[in-house]
């Protein structure tokens, strides 16, 4: 299994990379290559040009600005997983990365590569959705920002024009007292989730819900935010009745995807089970932190 021939480009600067994507046809960008390389080895993908962003160091960063964490598209998954800044401000992301693949893959794989590959079962678009992520992209004519809710154009296809490159994403930082949980089920540790769920919650001292975010992966082409559930839960007690309300809404989700291995009924069952566990864990963490 060898990739078909292609012409390799290694821009050193973002501007150079933007020139290349504006000029070339049938190109693929290689970030970590952990999804693209298998597809090229199988010849599912046969680009005429491969543009390697690994030298464009300006896309590799994690920084905190105001109440947001900025993660560059070429930041390695392992770097995010082991980042003290991420652990301190968005522990949800650290927990989510404990499920992401294996060390050898995380050492190469990038945050931006995952968001652009956009596997419906990937943890990374899911936590980005829970955190109201905003994705920044650039072309020769300038930058634009795309909220995660509008990022998915269709199955495994982001809303990215051929002349654009993803620069990174801004993730919202929740107050210090928030609770969080990421849960998923996969057949083997490190596989893509069959279903995964990200939960963030802010509680009052009386343990009522002030703000909550619930996002699921493995349900549809785009991560699914339970927006109606979230608004219905405001001011409710963080207890069993809140959990039942969320599970009732998952029961009503239309068109859960299915494939040869996992039926939509099974995914719905997993979504309910995992959401219950994640809500319990997030409530417990929030209660501990607020008291």
């Amino acid at each position: 299994m060898k990739p078909a021939p292609f012409i390799y480009h290694r821009p050193q600067q973002l501007s150079e990379a933007l020139d290349l994507v504006a000029q070339l046809d049938n190109y693929k960008i290689i970030a970590g290559g952990q999804s693209l390389m298998p597809m090229m080895n199988f010849r599912f993908v046969m680009p005429d040009h491969v543009i390697d962003l690994n030298q464009v160091t300006e896309l590799n960063h994690i920084s905190k600005e105001n109440q947001q964490l900025h993660i560059g598209s070429m930041t390695r998954q392992q770097a995010i997983y082991s980042s003290a800044l991420v652990q301190e401000h968005i522990p949800l992301v650290s927990q989510a990365y404990s499920f992401v693949s294996h060390r050898q893959i995380r050492n190469r794989g990038t945050f931006g590569g995952s968001l652009c590959h956009l596997d419906p079962s990937s943890e990374q678009p899911c936590f980005t959705a829970a955190l109201d992520g905003v994705i920044e992209v650039a072309s020769q004519s300038g930058k634009r920002e795309i909220p995660i809710a509008h990022w998915t154009a269709m199955y495994m296809t982001p809303d990215l024009a051929p002349n654009e490159i993803m620069l990174g994403a801004k993730l919202s930082i929740w107050p210090k007292t928030h609770g969080w949980s990421f849960m998923e089920y996969s057949r083997r540790h490190g596989d893509y989730a069959i279903v995964g769920v990200a939960v963030l919650v802010n509680l009052s001292v009386a343990s009522t819900i002030e703000r909550i975010s619930i996002a699921l992966c493995g349900i549809d082409a785009a991560p699914v935010r339970l927006l109606n559930t979230e608004s219905a839960l405001i001011n409710q007690a963080a207890d069993e009745s809140a959990i039942r309300m969320a599970l009732g809404d998952i029961e009503k989700l239309p068109n859960i995807m299915e494939d040869a291995l996992n039926t939509s009924d099974y995914r719905r069952h997993l979504a309910k089970t995992l959401t219950r566990r994640a809500l319990l864990e997030a409530f417990e963490r929030a209660k501990k932190r607020i008291s």
Partner: protein, 161 residues
């Protein structure tokens, strides 16, 4: 065809070669440098047999292009033993614990566990198991491999004192 001149440092030795852009790092090591200790199992990133250390970090050599390794330091299985041929502590522990049977997965196991022990000399059993989740072994049932890693960690700790 698209060729590039690259320079890599493999197990401390510099090599300069002309490579086609589609050449994977694994094929480059095996076919251009004749370092056939790096094994190729699945060639799509699942089995972990081709794991090497790229600038000290474990990576799948089948999912990296040789041209991307330009100017990089690479450690393969051939680079783990000492110059006089004595085995590394981890390799010795694999021998003592029978951590290999057919040996196909062993290069990837050793490079992966070398990275773990470089970072953590006191791994728990579950940390060892987590570290090798990306390496498939169809012979041993992993038990002896985990024992070997824990023994190597113990020996390395003892050496430090």
């Amino acid at each position: 065809m698209d060729f590039h001149r690259i320079k890599v440092y493999v197990n401390g030795k510099a090599y300069e070669r002309e490579v086609e852009s589609r050449r994977t790092l694994a094929d480059f090591l095996r076919m251009d440098l004749s370092l056939t200790g790096t094994h190729l199992g699945c060639e799509h990133g699942v089995c972990g047999a081709c794991t090497v250390l790229l600038n000290g970090s474990s990576a799948r050599a089948c999912l990296t292009l040789a041209v991307q390794a330009d100017q990089c330091e690479i450690t393969t299985i051939e680079g783990l033993a000492h110059a006089d041929g004595t085995l590394s502590v981890l390799q010795q522990a694999f021998q003592e614990c029978h951590g290999l049977q057919c040996g196909f997965c062993t290069p990837g196991m050793l490079t992966t566990l070398t990275e773990l022990l470089n970072e953590n000399l006191s791994p728990t059993e579950s940390q060892v198991r987590e570290a090798i989740t990306g390496n498939l072994c169809r012979c041993t049932g992993y038990q002896a491999i985990v024992e070997a890693a824990l023994l190597a960690a113990q020996k390395l700790r003892d050496q430090r004192v």
